[in-house]
Amino acid sequence: MLPEYYEFYNPVKINAGEQALETMAYELGLMGAKNPIIITDKGIVAAGLLKIVLNSFADSEIKINAIFEETPPDSSLEVVNQIVSLFYKNSCDSIIAIGGGSVIDTAKGVNIVVSEGTNDIRLFMGADRLKTPQKPLIVVPTTAGTGSEVTLVAVISDVQNNVKLPFTSNLLLPRLAILDPRMTMSLPAKITAATGMDALTHAVEAYTCLQKNPLSDAHAWMAIKLISENLLATVKNGSNKQTRFALANASMMAGAAFSNSMVGAVHAIGHACGAVAHVPHGVAMSILLPYVMEFNFDKLEQLYAELLLPLVGAEKYAKTFSSQRARASIAYIRDLKAQLYEAAALPVTLSQAGIKKEQFEMISNKAIDDGAILPNPKEVTKQDILQILENAF
């Protein structure tokens, strides 16, 4: 059924596949940029990925004017301001982000400051607060999970005041995303598993939350299919370029889906688990997904039943009685979690992830005020969240 109204916006150009990085110099030229700053982190440098990117500019007219390699796991105002100084000092005209969610969010934050000409990014916190077209931003994801290369969101921590500042605007979307199989090859098995489950959660929630629409459905559907076909294989054999590339595509499509249709209770509770108990986002998503699906079951049985097709393929789907398909989808995800635990020690319960029962109250208080709680199709109360946490413990 089509929604009464929907919006879908994804102008990000995607260059994907073998030697996609080598197209970057040409693309920068098209954007009128010559002197980018590269924002990345130490892990990327240590893995030799920065070198691959720099080599891709050999014999081009692009001059990398500055490189920032110190992005921490959580983007912060201080780091954004530090990079902004570097950007101005070296007369940069564009930004290349190489990394995972934190690097990409940091790059988006830097872009807000340098494009809006402000010295206080907090003025632009909230939805649709940006007014100025942003500088060219190219994103090279090195994980396959966040989908940040195609989302209109950035979250920057205000460490001093202990709050996370959300920014959402169509203007935040990068101009170009580069999906090059070389960039995710070195990802460890556990992170591959966690980020893959993050992408799966994006896709499942995008397909089932309030603003699902034909375009987000198409993206979410294919993302789920690619993840179910390739995640476990990649975790078991990380050197397979084909499956790595499939996951990178799945993550990007899931990102495009949820950036438009939004996410729901899994994310609301997962964000709170991260804030209170520092559980990595992908781990929290993986643990909570089947429990929230159980919670939403009476509202979403039909949609969960549909998802069995991309999850298990046509043959198994056809062999499953229609009345059992929704339950089979949840069972498949539980089974996938168990296999990822065996293959990469990805936690399957909150207790394994280090959460303590005493933290439930604080987690539920934060989750109920999370922006992702509202698009969840079923009303969620604090009591419901406590019960989900208890079940997932």
């Binding site: 929604p3 929907y6 919006e7 909230g126 607060r129 603003q211 005020d369 999370d370 009303e379």
Partner: protein
């Protein structure tokens, strides 16, 4: 009644625009008064704003030139300040057009749908806006008869005599008498 609102929603003449503005303004007035009453008379709503500091202000504004619903925390309650926007506020919720506001106020569109459809923007703290939306839900649950509130709420409480009495109390003391 619902048919009349639907017909008006689809109209584009200057008359229908004025009518929509008038209906939204009246609706905001009613919602503001009910919210004020519930902000101290209903424990669940009281809990939503109890951590907001004294003098916390917000307004919900219809873009580009529609009415607003403005409130301020004073003591234990949220006081309705009227249907004009404030010079300064801690949180601003912008409804992107009068048609969306009209549908919200006539129980054709729930706040969760409006949010999901990107038809509102929030300036300020997102978690505060979640609290506000829950407060509006609760107010709408009292203001609209179940046949209408099922359009705008994810969960409609079952009918009970107690609930009916409470609804009348809210409408009489909150809306009419402004106690």
């Amino acid at each position: 009644m619902t048919n009349l609102f639907t017909t008006l929603s689809n109209g584009f003449s200057p008359v229908s625009l004025l009518t929509k503005k008038a209906v939204v303004k009246t609706g905001f007035f009613a919602l503001g008064r009910v919210l004020e009453y519930l902000s101290y008379a209903d424990e669940s709503i009281k809990a939503e704003h109890e951590n907001w500091p004294e003098g916390y202000k917000f307004y919900m504004k219809v873009l580009p030139k529609g009415p607003s619903l403005s409130m301020e925390k004073k003591g234990e309650k949220m006081v309705f300040l009227g249907t004009k926007e404030l010079d300064k506020a801690d949180m601003v919720v912008e409804v992107k057009n009068i048609d969306t506001a009209f549908k919200m106020i006539t129980a054709q569109l729930g706040a969760h749908h409006v949010y999901a459809q990107h038809k509102i923007g929030v300036i300020g703290n997102v978690s505060d806006s979640m609290k506000l939306i829950r407060m509006i839900y609760a107010a709408e649950d009292y203001m609209f008869p179940p046949v209408m509130s099922k359009n705008v709420l994810k969960n409609v409480e079952d009918f009970s005599v107690q609930r009916l009495i409470k609804r009348f109390r809210v409408l009489i003391f909150g809306l009419v008498l402004k106690k």
